[in-house]
Amino acid sequence: MSVESAYRPRLAYRHAVGTAFRWITAAGALLGIVLLALLLTDVARDGTRLLSWDFLNAFPSRFPEQAGFKAALWGSIWVIGFTALLSFPIGVGAALYLEEYSGRGRLTRLIQLNISNLAGVPSIVFGILGLQLFVRGTLGFGPDLGGFGRSVIAGSLTLTLLILPIVIVAAQESVRAVPSSIREASYGVGATRWQTVWHHVLPQALPGILTGMILALSRAIGETAPLIMIGALTFVAFVPEGPGDPFTAMPIQIFNWVGRPQADFRDLAATGIIVLLVVLLAMNAVAVYVRQRTQRNV
């Protein structure tokens, strides 16, 4: 009796607090979405005026009405293309080593720890690394190896190192998801380790690897700071014709336009952002498509 009287459930109050809290959390989640919508409408409002086919086909100019995105668009395609060619084999190779070849020893743990640390290194630090290693070809002491200069390949190598941690982790996850019964069946009929990996593990893991790869590349295509560090040019009136050519890239061109005081150039920056976001959206759509197709198959 006394216990019952000491306990006051205060149910109405507690439920009111609960309801209020529920709405606060929903408002928090909604706020993020609203901010995203604001950002997109801000860009769309400023950028659609100058959006046209001419914009994609013209080189930068002192006159905003004539300025275009061609050099930046093709520069990005060159850089990202080489980044993909370099990071795919290295990333998949590293993931296969960690998942299929190495033991669970100290060395593996060290590499794994190192990868997760690298993922947290600011991109501008990768830019400093790329500037010294790939542009100048020096570590700051010892022989000068001669770098690649301010070229497409120097940019691709820098971005490759930047996204490798993402590619490796994604590839590891999809390799790990391949059931071990498949490996055991392959070993059981006498296949070697590489035959097992090449004919059975990789084909199964490939869609997941590709999804991770596309997402990593979509991170690389928006990267600005490391490319500024390695000296991507801001005023380029040509399209690169080879990996040794100088280049600019979409985010660099946008940064250049944002920094000018005239309002017309700011609008031009917004137009560039629209193109960049459309490219990103397309890449993500491909990634989602690849993922969903495989989910259906398994």
Binding site: T25, L39, G93, W194, I273
Partner: protein
Amino acid sequence: MAASANQVRFARNRRRHLIEQAIGGALFACASVTVVTTVGIVVILLGEGATFFQDVSVIEFLTNDRWTPLFASKNFGVLPLVSGTLLIAVGASLVALPIGTVSAVFLSEYASPHVRGVVKPVLEVLAGIPTVVYGYFALTFITPLLRDSFFPELGPFNAVSAIVVVGVMIIPMVSSLSDDAMRAVPVALREGAYGVGATRFEVVTRIVLPAALSGIVASYLLAISRAIGETMAVTIAAGATPHLTFNPLESVQTMTAYIVQVSLGDTPHGSLEYRTIFAVGATLFTMTLGMNIIARRVVGRFQETYE
């Protein structure tokens, strides 16, 4: 006859074995690229930083409160850049940690699977937008908005607009990682609490949040580390004036923005002014690495394991 067949088989096995070895070696080489990357970063920052510290004492670097390496009268005190960086990082955390946390609670505890399946990826889009776009947003939307509504004196370059956009861009780190941490709390714990009559609010605040605390704190640290390393949005929005100030309405310069400024300018390579970027880069690298290591320790030490 049989012997030669065996010899053929033996030779083939040996060749196979050699190929296996070679492939294993090649894959190991791929994995070591990441280690070489880290070694390269450390060697370059330490090596070039060391030549900088031959001319400027570490004491001056760490205690002088003026940073004017590009001016005629040179001062090499990193404090204004560190204070600018911390101002942005702390401010952005004040924006992102509360919003991210309540969003994570919503995703994990209140949203239906359908709503969660829509809201979580949309929030993650915020992390996928290039940072140069956030810089544009700060300059052309946030700053005019703040000037028209709260701070009529606000200049075109100011810390507060950078704080807002960096905060927005790190919301998804907090919301997604904390959501994962909360969803890892076993249902049995919640059911136990419901069983003794707790409301959902009480279950969330007294059971789920404490149980997921290590993951939530780790997500905070990773988000702050990202804010410290953020470059383009602060370069565009916060300006290029290194001030030892904690007033968010002023223009400041972060460590990252300074490095960009030098690499965009025509400072001759090899000069003392140029070598500042390695000293500043080393400071930045040390700060973010420290945050990431602490984050991992927090998860390792305080994680509650339920079997």
